[in-house]
């Protein structure tokens, strides 16, 4: 959303405050500069001020890169507005660059005419060299076309915190709070909640706490004192639904979804994992939720991780595993076993850039075809995908619900963008959450391990420890009735078709495909899946505002597809499928419905910009 000045109000100091519909702000600095904390605190204050928002951090690939290098730059972007916000925003309206390297790597993204705040104190010859600048860019035409606000933040911070007597090294580390104070002044945020946060965070180091508070206030004071009130803006609160909100990231939401599934079903979870970026945080979060019926097991590799989950499912617990890229590839064989033995299992794939090790810290949607097709033999797998950080919570519940109802593995696709991105999330009322019904077989009368429910084709969950149900299962083809090993040709065909029919039959329980925006017929349908949701939603909204006949639908159930999807596609003249890969959903649609859906792809380890999709829509409508 462009930072357009609107008729404004007048602030306490008497200066005019311009009112904006919204703004995109990016904080960028050295890994040691505390940009993630700054961003998170700015987010919290913004949320409290009632704006809708979305955020995205951009960590360096290295654990701890040397100070001042371009590859050591850490960033945090927030998009906030008086209206609904669906993405962390395209190009920032405001860029805070704490050192030359941050300017070097982020400068080109700043919108023309945007506000560029730099810490001149860090523009030392040494830092300039580390960033690869031959001359100081602040003194060249490199910053032409931006509103440059060049401040020696280092010096200002040092003087703000001087009275505490803190060491100069520690004083220097307060720079980020000084900057935050200035940003709070610019957008008229309250300091209170951040001060409270600082005080509790540094409770054991009161001097540090005091210094950070002073820095924060110093930054604010600088805004008041310096003649920069033309940079002051107001973004009114967004008209959001009533409720209690929190900020939530995708991995966090997934972890909460898993804990909620354990609670709602009454069946504890065994979460088998092996650390891998960007999925590890699910393990970290869950390892603190033992009281909620979640046991995490850190195994020796991804094969063992999925196997420990399969063993747990076999023994009557909810077996769940999560991984990414190479780790998911390694689980391939064992997923086949769970499919063959018809055990519930949830596999969460937090997709990242591939192939092979690829781009571990970057996002991508290139594992869809692998999810649907990537196993030996006819091994049908249910595949769902979450559309936003908060949606990870709900889709995790869905994955568990289908896994236990149909006694089969379900793969849930999220990605690095969802995992690390965050958005305000209305905390659901537990009573409103879907029920997850689990029935364990206990009756020995007429029992067979592959006795199927005639409606769902699901077999009974008969777990060790249950008297009278002793039986054996395994990966060799099983007899349709007894479950014993069977090499019979007709039985194999019957079992193969039954397994396929069971997955196909999930459409019974899958909600019909609904429209996100626009009419359910017309000139162009933009059909997406996964984390492209926000960018597509906003691009379609903007295009519609411009009068284009375009609609948006977003597929959450990818295998099988909702039963009305094929028919829906035929109601549009054209179908455009934006994906962060080389065209995967589009392949599934073409094969399934023989529709000439068109692919629009981006495979850069980065999410789509709204602009990119909007532009593509314009092109398609014109062609």
């Amino acid at each position: 959303m462009a930072q357009q000045a609107q008729p404004g109000t007048v602030d306490s100091s008497g200066s005019k405050v311009k009112t904006l519909r919204g703004a995109v702000v990016r904080f960028a600095g050295d890994s040691g500069d505390g940009m993630q904390v700054t961003g998170t605190q700015f987010t919290a204050a913004t949320a409290l001020a009632g704006n809708d928002l979305a955020t995205f951090p951009d960590y360096p690939a290295e654990i701890r890169a040397p100070a001042g290098t371009t590859y050591g730059v850490s960033g945090f972007q927030i998009n906030f507005a008086a209206t609904d916000v669906f993405t962390p925003g395209d190009s920032p309206d405001v860029l805070v660059a704490m050192n030359p390297a941050a300017l070097k790597t982020n400068g080109k993204d700043l919108k023309r005419g945007g506000l560029l705040i730099v810490n001149t104190g860090a523009f030392t010859p040494q830092n300039l060299k580390k960033a690869g600048y031959e001359t100081n860019p602040l003194e060249t035409d490199a910053v032409d076309g931006y509103n440059l606000l060049a401040i020696d933040i280092t010096k200002n911070t040092l003087s703000a915190v001087k009275e505490t007597g803190i060491s100069s090294k520690e004083a220097n580390r307060c720079k980020n709070f000084w900057t935050l104070g200035l940003m709070f002044w610019i957008y008229g945020r309250e300091l209170e909640s951040t001060i409270k946060w600082i005080e509790s965070k540094f409770a054991k180091e009161p001097m540090v706490a005091q210094a950070n508070v002073l820095a924060l206030k110093g930054g604010w004071a600088y805004g008041e004192a310096a003649e920069i009130s033309h940079y002051r803006y107001e973004v009114p609160a967004a008209p959001v639904a009533k409720g209690t909100y929190r900020n939530i990231g995708g991995n966090q939401a997934t972890a909460l979804g898993i804990a909620a599934a354990a609670q709602l079903s009454g069946v504890p979870v065994v979460f088998g994992a092996y650390p891998i970026t960007p999925a590890s945080d699910i393990l970290h979060d869950l390892s603190r939720l033992k009281a909620y019926g979640v046991t995490t097991v850190q195994m020796e590799d991804e094969i063992a991780a999925v196997c420990v989950s399969i063993g747990a499912s076999y023994a009557g617990k909810l077996g769940i595993t999560a991984s990414s890229g190479p780790g998911i590839a390694l689980k391939t064989e064992a997923m086949g076993l769970a499919i063959a033995t018809e055990l519930p299992l949830v596999i969460i794939n937090v997709q990242r850039g591939g192939p092979s090790t690829g781009l571990p810290t970057k996002t991508e949607q290139a594992d869809l075809l692998q999810a649907v097709y990537g196993r030996n033999g006819e091994a049908p797998l249910a595949v769902f995908a979450a559309a936003s950080p908060g949606d990870c919570f709900y889709m995790t519940l869905e994955a568990v619900r289908f896994a236990v109802k149909y006694m089969t593995p379900v793969m849930l696709l999220t990605d690095g963008y969802l995992a690390n991105g965050a958005e305000p999330w209305r905390v659901p009322n537990v009573a409103d959450l879907p029920e997850i019904d689990v029935t364990f077989r206990t009756d020995p009368a007429g029992f067979h391990p592959f006795l199927r429910d005639p409606a769902t084709l699901s077999r009974p969950w008969a777990v060790p420890g249950t008297p009278g149900l002793l039986h054996r299962i395994g990966g060799i083809e099983r007899d349709y009735n007894s479950g014993n090993i069977s090499y019979d040709p007709d039985n194999h065909e019957k079992m193969s078709k039954t397994r396929a029919a069971k997955i196909a039959g999930m459409t019974r329980d899958i909600p019909d495909q609904k429209m996100e925006l626009g009419n359910d017929s017309g000139k162009l349908l933009v059909l997406g899946w996964g984390s492209t949701y926000g960018a597509i939603r906003e691009a379609v909204a903007r295009s519609r505002e411009r009068g284009l006949d375009v609609s948006h639908a977003h597929v959450r159930y990818l295998n099988p597809f909702p039963k009305n999807l094929g028919e829906l596609l035929t109601r549009f003249e054209r179908v455009l499928v934006p994906e962060m890969n080389l065209g995967q959903l589009v392949k599934l649609l073409r094969t399934e419905y023989l529709v000439p859906a068109e692919s629009f792809t981006k495979i850069k380890g980065l999410p789509f910009k709204i602009d990119e999709i909007e532009e593509k829509i314009r092109q398609v409508m014109e062609s």
Binding site: T244, Y292, C307, G311, L337, V427, P464, P467, L470, G474
Partner: protein, 339 residues
């Protein structure tokens, strides 16, 4: 089968499944199966609480023949799956059957990690020094230079000894037995069942088709007395048809030697006494070269250490004691604001 069965003492028959046993006639697996079925009722575990998990191989067909819960999984992964079973339900008595290929070739890593974690599962490795099911390729326990289908001019790999591997992995229970030795099998199975942690049992098993007679040098009835050393905790390490040979150690070179009691002034007092809690001794016993030394069988090593499942249960209990789960509260944790 209904509940009623469980109230009376179970018999061997109760542990026989209704499936045709399909190993080759004469295969050593039959004898192990029969002995396991015989020992099971001794454990006093309710019938429905016994689970057998296996990988892939001739040996891994085992669960189908046991009338218990059974899971014939995928090649090499049984220890990980069994771990899931045990963690999901610590009440269960979880047994794993694996082969020298399943457990030490493709599955060596899971075996190592189960052993060091000391999860309360019992692992029987049927070691026939060959891949049986895939028809006769050499395995990680096959002799260097062994000629097989896949190595017509001899295996270039030096073998790994399962027991010393287990000891190197910090296993807490390591035993050895011979497929046809009912008494020995019986003893170690019972000991393993009582061990609160991972119990590893290597069972020399004759593959009549692809490696017949591999163990005759010490397993055969005529050789057994002379070439097997039954290690018994607290007793001297004595063997031989005349029970007059024993193991001695040179404390400077740390080398084992065979001494004959009554010769050169050697008395029983000079013979090493088996201490199953000493892993160095276990290591030495496991690695004695045959036929210069006898093959050590029985419980080579056993020492209790907190089991993985026990530790996890304690952590869960502690967490539950500390936090009463309140899902609504959990969902609303962290910074919240209300509109």
């Amino acid at each position: 089968m209904s509940n009623i069965v469980e109230t009376t003492k179970l018999t061997k028959k109760d542990f026989e499944s209704d499936q045709d046993v399909r190993w080759c006639p004469g295969c050593g697996d039959y004898s192990i199966l029969a002995n396991v079925q015989k020992v099971m009722p001794e454990l006093g575990v309710p019938h429905e609480n016994v689970v057998w998990v296996s990988g892939i191989g001739c040996s891994s067909r085992f669960p189908y023949y046991m009338n218990t819960y059974g899971f014939h999984t995928i090649h090499g992964r049984a220890p990980a799956i069994a771990m899931g079973v045990k963690i999901a339900n610590p009440e269960l008595s979880v047994w794993v059957v694996t082969g020298d290929g399943d457990g030490l070739s493709i599955g060596g890593n899971h075996l190592m990690h189960a052993l060091r974690r000391n999860i309360d599962i019992k692992i029987l490795m049927f070691n026939n020094r060959i891949y049986g099911l895939t028809k006769g390729q050499y395995s990680p326990t096959s002799e260097f230079g062994k000629q097989t289908k896949s190595a017509p001019t001899g295996a270039p790999d030096y073998p790994v000894d399962p027991a010393s591997f287990a000891i190197g992995c910090s296993a807490t229970f390591v035993a050895r037995a011979v497929d046809t030795d009912a008494k020995l099998l019986n003893d170690i199975l019972l000991r393993a069942a009582k061990h609160a942690g991972t119990a590893f049992m290597e069972i020399y098993q004759n593959c009549v088709v692809f490696n017949d007679g591999a163990f005759d040098g010490f397993a055969d009835k005529t050789q057994k007395d002379e070439h097997q050393l039954r290690a018994i905790h607290g007793q001297p390490l004595i063997f031989g048809a005349q029970k007059n040979k024993g193991l001695r150690i040179d404390s400077r070179t740390l080398g084992l030697e065979v001494a004959t009691i009554g010769e050169g002034g050697v008395t029983e007092k000079d013979i090493l006494v088996h201490d199953e809690t000493n892993s160095t001794l276990a290591y030495m016993l496991a690695r004695m070269p045959f036929p210069q030394f006898p093959v050590a069988v029985g419980v080579l090593y056993a020492k209790e250490r907190p089991s993985y499942d026990e530790t996890v249960l304690e952590q869960v209990a502690a967490a539950k004691a500390k936090t009463k789960p309140d899902l609504q509260k959990l969902l609303a944790s962290g910074n919240t604001w209300t509109v």
